[in-house]
């Protein structure tokens, strides 16, 4: 439960291969040069060790989602570097970023975003559609659904699922490509406490059983306790309390 990396420990960071994520002086500035300019990330440098589960906390507007989106290859940084699994993602094209999203990253959002026309199983397979779906993929998807406790809901359409079940489908979808890291942005925000706990338990279990790194944004102190590391963001900066 201690911050592993300080700016001053940059040397160690550079030389370590144990870190799935390393950032150096990361900035995210919205509407740069305009009156409405916002510095959402302000010189953020830190690292996340492979296989850990970490929580990011902080007040609303402190830059949590901004950070997650950059690390999740969904948005670009304004300045600085971010190394994901040895690759500097701040220098990649949109096409290369989409490859990384597909192969290395699982994303879970606060909203349970599913395609209404597809069954739970098909929603899990959604990331694979452009490349084609094999029988093995289908089996894998069924296994993942089993892992999240939804095997008997495989053929249900999203409208036939509860909120917690939907979120479990999105977790399964995030897992279909065997990602090396999962980003979850307030995954329990739309769920009641009990269901939220179940979702977090699933993520924790995955982290422990498969070694996938999990980065979860949460306001919930109970969540923080279950993670290996808590990262506090305040005004776009990491605060070392």
């Amino acid at each position: 439960m201690v911050d592993r990396i300080h700016n001053s420990e940059k040397e160690e960071l550079d030389n370590s291969n144990n870190f799935i994520i390393k950032t150096y002086g990361l900035y995210k500035i919205y509407n740069e040069g305009e009156p409405s300019m916002v510095t959402a990330l302000n010189n953020v440098s830190f690292g996340i060790e492979t296989g850990k589960m970490i929580a990011i906390a902080g007040p609303s507007g402190s830059g949590k989602s901004s950070l997650l989106n950059i690390l999740g290859c969904m948005d670009s940084a304004s300045a600085g570097k971010a190394i994901l699994d040895g690759v500097d993602i701040t220098s990649l094209s949109e096409r290369e970023l989409s490859e990384i999203r597909k192969n290395k990253i699982g994303f879970i959002f606060q909203e349970f975003l599913l395609i209404p026309t597809l069954s739970a199983l098909e929603n899990v397979l959604l990331p694979l559609i452009p490349d084609g779906i094999s029988k093995a993929d289908r089996e894998k998807a069924m296994n993942i659904l089993e892992q999240v406790g939804l095997r008997d809901r495989a053929d249900h359409k999203p409208k036939e699922l509860s909120g917690g079940e939907k979120q479990r489908v999105t977790i399964a979808r995030a897992l279909i490509n065997s990602p090396t890291i999962i980003f979850a942005d307030e995954p329990t925000g739309n769920l009641d406490t009990k269901t939220g706990d179940e979702i977090l338990a699933i993520l924790r279990e995955l982290n422990q059983n498969t070694g996938v790194t999990v980065v979860v944004v949460s306001h919930d102190p109970l969540v923080w306790e279950k993670t290996d590391l808590l990262l506090h963001l305040i005004d776009g900066q990491i605060s070392y309390a």
Partner: protein, 408 residues
């Protein structure tokens, strides 16, 4: 590989059932019109082509600058014709006498004999009469070779009549009947109907002469009604062994160089000339095609843009899970193509049905659905889908997932 994307697109194409149905209907109406028009013009082209092919080597000769009824070709016209340089290309010659005024609509006889009862469907104009040489007509496999009843004329004033006259139910012109036919209110001709010939099934059958008789009989009748005594033929038909209208034209020139001077008409060239009428039709078709494309394309664009706006979050999630811009674009294009092709197929069905019904009414096949038309329809469906899906596809592909997901 792309199979899964196609399946996905198919599922999504009908998310908004009403919108999809409306855009399919819009496209279908346009395509139906196009199919009907294309088929009609293809059918017309076909008939034209067949007729040109059937008549490509046929020419008709009359006296220079003279109406056919007054035209007088020498009695030895067949021999004169065979003196041209390309005479070896002549397959057959048949000189004929056109019998004027044999039966006329205004003639008291016609009315009395019930020749043209109202609604009989028989065109009075077509009730022509001809005098032919049997051996020459046989070379053309003419009507005298197509007897279905009775025998050929052997004596003067014996005639054979067209089957359609019997079918029309004339009380006067019956097989086996002998009677005095009044011509031009004045002359009485004692005719005997000894045979009936077959004119086929086409609508154009009524253009065949109704009465055929010997040259001798026809000359006698004409000499009664014309202000002069007719001795020669009115018209000579020549059939050349010709591959093309162009080739026939060269024989026409040879014939035109003969003495006496002749009017020579190539039937194939005449019919081909009718093709010019088609040009206007084609312009109309082109305009319609443009309208169909623009309207159909717009229908898809509007429907898809609506869909894309509603599904922004889905595209965001797809991108977030690694879909490339191009994959999302492909999905939208496939959805649009589905709508486009379905509209085209429904339109094709409608158009073909329309044609079928019209043909049933007309009892005649004058339109043709060619595989080119089917291909064309599919191509239009595809083209409409591509064109209509372009803008929505680009919009969907270029969304920024974060912006969309943050907007809630």
């Amino acid at each position: 590989m792309v199979f899964q994307t196609i399946r996905f697109a198919l599922k999504n194409a009908f998310r908004k059932k009403l919108v999809a149905a409306l855009s399919i209907t819009g496209i279908a109406i346009g395509i139906a019109l196009m199919v009907a028009l294309s088929s009609a013009s293809a059918g017309f082209d076909n008939i034209l082509g067949e007729t040109v092919a059937a008549t490509v080597g046929d020419v008709e000769i009359t006296e220079y600058n003279t109406m056919i009824t007054l035209s007088q070709l020498p009695t030895n016209i067949s021999d004169i014709i065979k003196t041209i340089e390309s005479s070896d290309k002549i397959l057959a010659v048949c000189a004929e006498v056109v019998v004027s005024n044999f039966v006329q609509f205004a003639d008291n006889v016609t009315i009395q004999v019930g020749m043209a009862p109202p609604g009989s469907g028989m065109s009075v104009m077509a009730l022509g009469a001809r005098g032919v040489n049997l051996d020459e007509d046989a070379l053309f496999e003419g009507l005298t070779t197509k007897l279905t009843e009775g025998r050929i004329f052997e004596n003067d004033f014996e005639i054979i009549i067209a089957d359609y006259i019997l079918e029309a139910g004339s009380e006067v012109f019956e097989f086996g009947k002998s009677f005095d036919l009044m011509i031009n209110y004045t002359y009485t001709v004692p005719i005997k109907i000894v045979g009936v010939f077959d004119t086929g099934e086409d609508m154009t059958r009524v253009l065949e002469p109704s009465f055929i008789m010997s040259v001798n009989t026809s000359l006698q009748i004409n000499s009664m009604t014309l202000p002069f005594e007719q001795t020669g033929y009115n018209v000579a038909k020549v059939r050349f062994d010709s591959e093309s209208v162009e080739e026939t034209k060269s024989y026409v020139e040879e014939l035109e160089a003969l003495e006496p001077k002749l009017d020579v008409t190539s039937l194939g060239a005449e019919i081909e000339g009718m093709g010019d009428i088609m040009a206007n039709f084609q312009t109309f078709q082109t305009i319609l095609t443009v309208i169909v494309i623009v309207a159909g394309g717009m229908a898809i664009v509007v429907a898809q843009l609506m869909g894309v706006s509603e599904r922004m979050k889905e595209f965001a999630i797809m991108k977030a899970t690694g879909w490339k811009n191009s994959s999302i674009f492909l999905d939208i294009i496939l959805e649009s193509i589905t709508i486009g092709i379905l509209g085209a197929l429904v339109g094709f069905g409608l158009g073909a049905g329309l044609i079928f019904i019209v043909q049933l009414g007309a009892g005649q096949t004058f339109v043709t659905i060619t595989w080119q038309i089917v291909l064309k329809v599919l191509a239009y469906g595809l083209g409409l889908g591509l064109a209509g899906g372009l803008i929505p596809g680009i919009r969907a592909a270029n969304i920024k997932p974060m912006e969309v997901l943050r907007a809630t």
